[in-house]
């Protein structure tokens, strides 16, 4: 990996157990700052599970246990001194299925800044919301109906609303778990453009099932298989000359 790149998050020997069953078998993975890292691999290999370790969403799953070490800016996020609420305000998440709150578009985006006390005034809050929606590429479509229900938007718009909601908290890292799997190709293309824009200010980790998507949006790719990290490298290397036969087979569609 390019030595000039700063490592934003770093997992070492990460193991995850669901009720005594080991799902991830010791993952070592670095996530470079201001880059898009794609996690690929066949279904059930543990990509989402690994992603959920990065903002401790696994804590909310009954019976889940994580061992090993994950650093965010040199600080172990599983250290008892780390507050999970603060962690999640720094590491945001966008889910597979768009999940806006059943509230207005405005309220959806305003919720995060409000609970974290990021806006000093109403004007401030309006500004944050406008900026977040702009960055998510949604503002011009919804500026006249900010008080309509978020659930009244189309699927692609809902997903961009969820991205705006994540951005509004000003996180450092954004995790995306197959953010386009429920969307049509046009909406998918918009989100992919968006991810490319966001990379300038955020570190992004994205799980995807689509090889083309990984190739289009990411700079680094990590290949998972059956709870192991098979290989990781620049997206170019992985897609043109993978070091492992399994990676080769997967990206050429021989299994998965």
């Amino acid at each position: 990996m390019n030595p000039r790149l700063k490592i934003k998050m770093c997992g070492s020997n990460v193991k995850v157990f669901y009720a005594q069953k080991e799902i991830l078998h010791g993952i070592h993975l670095d996530i470079p700052e201001n880059r898009v890292t794609a996690l690929i691999g066949p279904s059930g290999c543990g990509k989402s599970t690994f992603l959920r370790c990065l903002n401790r969403m696994n804590d909310t799953i009954e019976g889940a246990r994580v061992t090993g070490q994950i650093l965010l800016d040199e600080e172990d996020i599983y250290d008892p001194s780390v507050d999970v609420v603060e962690l999640r305000s720094r590491v945001g998440m966008v889910f597979q299925k768009p999940n806006p709150f059943p509230k207005s578009i405005y309220e959806n985006v305003a919720y995060g800044p409000r609970i974290h006390g990021l806006a000093k005034s109403r004007v401030d809050l309006d500004e944050i919301i406008e900026q977040s929606l702009l960055k998510a590429g949604l503002f011009h479509e919804v500026k006249d109906r900010l008080h309509d229900a978020g659930t009244s938007l189309s699927g692609g718009q809902q997903q961009r609303l969820c991205i705006a909601r994540a951005i509004a908290v000003r996180p450092e890292v954004i995790l995306m778990d197959e953010p386009c799997s429920a969307l049509d190709p046009i909406a998918t293309a918009r989100i992919e453009e968006l991810i490319d824009d966001l990379r300038r200010n955020y570190t992004i980790t994205i799980v995807t099932h689509s090889m083309q998507q990984a190739a289009r949006v990411s700079q680094f790719t990590a290949m998972f298989h059956m709870g192991n990290l098979v290989e990781v490298g620049t997206t170019k290397t992985i897609f043109t000359s993978p070091g492992e036969q399994r990676t080769q087979d997967y990206i050429t569609g021989r299994f998965g």
């Binding site: 903002n55 969403m57 999640r88 889910f95 999940n99 059943p102 919720y111 609970i115």
Partner: protein
């Protein structure tokens, strides 16, 4: 393409058992319709029998007469200025009897006839006229038009509920009284009026002066107590169990016990209430506070179960969304999950309250089956409840009580129907899709 290039063959129709499938469907529909018809039939019979017996309870036969407040009868010794007691004990029914006898032309020495005249009107006139005179002493010596209740027998006769054709000795009302009744009714002195007394009067051993007043107030107090106690306690318990605990042996035990509690027969709650609230805590018997507490115990499991299922119905994606942007557990629950569960909680609460409103057995055990003549001012005063009042009236023999029993059932049913409609409206109104 020329004709004949393509070979048209109809493929053989396969037998995939369509006919049997349709027949099975028809059969099932028939079963369903039969089941619904049977249910509707019995519901119809029930409602018809209650309404046909009870609708007349909302009307009461009354008399309107000019009554002379004869000073010689009220205060023969003219001592009312220094002894006001005389106005309490005066023979007011005599005033009414005289007025009625005069109107009917009964001579003042025909004692038998006068006796029959005084059975035409309710003895509640004693209290009614006394209160009138105490409020307006200047009435004494004058004439005033007064409307008062007819006696229960005249009421039943006027509503044609007793057979007037048969032999005079076999009924409580004589031929002469019937004739008077018709004459009074012809000139408008005797008429039907809306029976406000059914809602305002209290316990009495005369049917025409007994009403649901105490029962309505008692039931209202109890519903308030149940609502104020069981809603917050039930919701708090459900939120804790559903959102804050991890599944372990303790929560399993609690869960099993709550479900058991929901199926405990209500009479057991009555015994529990008697033992705990009355005998141990020393709360007064027959009061709405004890009734309310017992009904709270009964309603709690319903509300807890309804709240838990409403919470469970909130999609996990909403929780993930809130947690994912850094909301704490409590913020997630109170900002997102609980508000979405509110319609379900309200529906469950209303259904629980409706159950509590109709509950009788535990109230009998804590002594709410009492003859309460005074309105309860606070929940610490003796009271009855709607279903208990129905139970008590159903045990009375007189015809006029039969009609009141059904009338009270109608009142209770109206309340229950209103509550159920409210819960349906709430559910429709706040139903959300996400």
């Amino acid at each position: 393409m020329r004709k004949g290039d393509v070979c048209h063959t109809t493929p053989m129709r396969r037998d995939i058992g369509l006919r049997q499938r349709y027949r099975a469907e028809m059969r099932f529909r028939a079963y369903g319709i039969t089941a619904i018809s049977i249910g509707m039939f019995f519901l119809g019979v029930l409602l018809w029998s209650v309404f046909s017996k009870g609708y007349s309870a909302f009307w009461q036969t009354s008399l309107t007469l000019n009554i002379r407040f004869d000073a010689a009868i009220i205060d023969p010794k003219n001592i009312r200025d220094h002894d006001s007691q005389v106005l309490f004990t005066a023979n007011y029914p005599l005033l009414v009897r005289n007025a009625l006898a005069e109107k009917l032309g009964v001579p003042s020495d025909d004692h038998l006839a006068l006796h029959e005249v005084s059975h035409m009107f309710s003895s509640s006139v004693r209290v009614q006229l006394r209160d009138l005179v105490l409020g307006h002493p200047q009435l004494i010596g004058g004439i005033q038009k007064v409307t008062f209740l007819a006696s229960a027998d005249i009421d039943s006769a006027f509503k044609k509920q007793i057979n007037l054709a048969g032999s005079e000795t076999r009924r409580k009302i004589s031929n002469r009284q019937i004739e008077w009744m018709h004459r009074l009714s012809a000139d408008g002195s005797l008429h039907r009026a809306f029976n406000t007394g059914l809602f305002t009067l209290t316990a009495s051993n005369r049917p025409e002066t007994s009403g649901l007043g105490v029962a309505l107030v008692g039931s209202l107090y109890m519903m308030l107590i149940v609502l104020v106690l069981s809603l917050p306690i039930g919701v708090a318990a459900a939120v804790y169990l559903e959102e804050y605990t991890h599944k372990n042996r303790f929560t399993d035990l609690v869960e099993v016990n709550i479900n058991n509690l929901a199926s405990v027969p209500s009479i057991v709650f009555g015994l529990l209430g008697l033992a705990v609230f009355v005998n141990f805590f020393g709360l007064p018997r027959s009061t709405s506070i004890v009734g309310g507490l017992v009904l709270t115990l009964m309603t709690l499991p319903t509300i807890i179960i309804a709240t838990r299922s409403a919470l469970r119905a909130v999609p996990p994606s909403i929780r993930s969304a809130a947690l994912g942007i850094g909301a704490s557990k409590t913020q997630t629950v109170f900002h997102h999950v609980l508000p979405l569960a509110v319609p379900g909680i309200m529906t469950g609460t209303i259904i629980g309250l409706a159950h509590a409103l109709g509950e009788t057995a535990p109230l009998l055990l804590i002594g709410m089956v009492a003859f309460v003549a005074n309105y309860p001012i606070t929940p610490m005063d003796p009271a009855t409840a709607l279903p208990v009042q129905i139970y008590m009236w159903a045990n009375e023999a007189e015809r006029a009580f039969v009609e009141r029993t059904s009338g009270a059932i109608i009142v209770l049913l109206v309340f229950l129907i209103l509550m159920n409609i409210a819960s349906i409206v709430l559910r429709r109104r706040f139903e959300r899709r996400w």
